[in-house]
Symmetry: C2
Subunit: 276 residues, 2 copies
């Protein structure tokens, strides 16, 4: 199993505080020492820092903590491998371009039978079930819309449906970013918090770090943070329910959609083809 | 104009020495202060460090120089913008996945009329002619082969042909990596050196740095380095001729192919479609 971290805000925000907690779990307070990655969006483009090594003692992870990059949307992951060896190709998050946007994906769980779905345009570079699922998910979106949908609620719905179908093949907690939204699906374990005024202090669960957000924010700021388990001890995190998808936009939870397998009689979401 | 840096080797090698020279040109000894990027392959996967800022005083660029990453294949770029604003999306190198490999592309020059070619599967995220050309080039390869060709010479030929066609639309010096080969096309300015035993000392042209390669190599090592202009003052660099493509593999120049526009009567390379 792995741990996920997502952040989506209405003002550029640095993710250092949350990442500091997560990276302790990468081999120190947690067993997730097989790789880590952190993607920062700037508009529709992203840059991803990835290493097939423990985050807790990575000089690069420390560098990022010391040189914060402000962003509206970030996705992070620390890996404890279950499928596929430790390598750069198997390190989350994964990225593909679709409709002139970078899409970033990170997964927690195992989808043992995901290879029953046929690949399309997107092919895995590594050997994980996670990257395979990313490719299948994006192919399903691609074949459902000719371009980034004008009515974004259609896109949200499609992500929820495809997530539900794939989720039937194992454990599918995931984060997905498209440069505008953060999608977060809960299969077993995922929680979120939206920090907004009045801001207060927060204490990390995994490190001896405390921050007073009121000193670094303005009253209009909203910051949504999603994580596998709560990163702080003195805030109220909302636990996800199995089979639901959250969509964050502008630092707010915009919607919660059911994300469960369709009943047998209903057609499969477009673009999802079982391998014959 | 921008500056290119490529390295392709038969043993994992760090690119720090060459990158140290290049990064001085990113705003200090050269005018290329609008962004920089450096891609390192590990097998078919790559990780790319990119910043829409000057390399010479970038903490991240300094970090990479101080924490070398060994690789068989690396592609770097520093940007002085001609087309498209300074942004992450417009910062080279660009990356796309094709046939389960990361392809990395960096360009020096301007292709004023490249938008006459139709886009296919790959869409630009930013607004540069360079990323547009990258998308057109990869689409042409994709539609020429159903998978990574078994006979790699066919692929080399295709890159040379498509490079030649695109090169008719401006200045098209480029580096392209597929995880196995380094392709380097010269339109106006490009040079290379292959370092091999007996190794000797080298002195950077842009910084007060000298290295004795014999102290850090074995007799079997071969390291090919490609750059816009020679990075060292006391080595013999081979200058490219306009309209030729070099293919490096295993730290050797494997072939030099003509890369010029096809004559009018010959058919265009597959997958290259003018916009109507």
């Amino acid at each position: 199993m792995c741990e996920l971290l997502g952040m989506e805000c209405n003002v550029p925000t640095d993710i250092v505080f949350s990442f500091t907690g997560l990276r302790q779990r990468g081999g120190k307070t947690g067993p997730h020492g097989d790789g880590w990655g952190l993607a920062f969006y700037e508009g529709r483009a992203t840059r991803i820092f990835r290493e097939p090594a423990a985050a807790c003692d990575s000089p690069l992870a420390r560098f990022l903590a010391e040189h914060p990059i402000k962003t509206l949307l970030a996705i992070g992951h620390i890996r404890r491998r279950t499928r596929g060896p430790t390598s750069l190709a198997n390190t989350h998050p994964f990225m593909r371009e679709l409709w002139g946007r970078h899409w970033v994906f990170a997964h927690n769980g195992t989808l043992r039978t995901v290879r029953r779905f046929r690949l399309g345009r997107f092919q895995p570079v590594g050997t994980t079930d996670s990257e395979y699922a990313c490719c299948v998910l994006l192919e399903a979106l691609r074949s459902s819309f000719s371009d980034y949908p004008q009515r974004v609620t259609d896109l949200w719905q499609a992500v929820a449906e495809v997530g539900g179908e794939l989720g039937a093949h194992g454990t599918f907690n995931f984060l997905l970013g498209d440069g505008r939204h953060l999608y977060a699906r809960c299969a077993t374990k995922l929680c979120y918090i939206v920090r907004r005024a009045p801001f207060g202090p927060a204490t990390l669960a995994d490190d001896d770090v405390r921050i007073d957000f009121s000193a670094v924010t303005t009253p209009r700021d909203r910051v949504a943070v999603v994580a596998t388990t709560p990163l702080t001890t003195n805030e109220m995190w909302t636990q996800g329910r199995p089979g639901e998808l959250w969509v964050f936009d502008g630092g707010q939870l915009r919607t919660t959609l059911p994300s469960k397998p369709t009943a047998r009689r209903r057609p499969r979401p477009q673009g999802l083809h079982p391998n014959s």
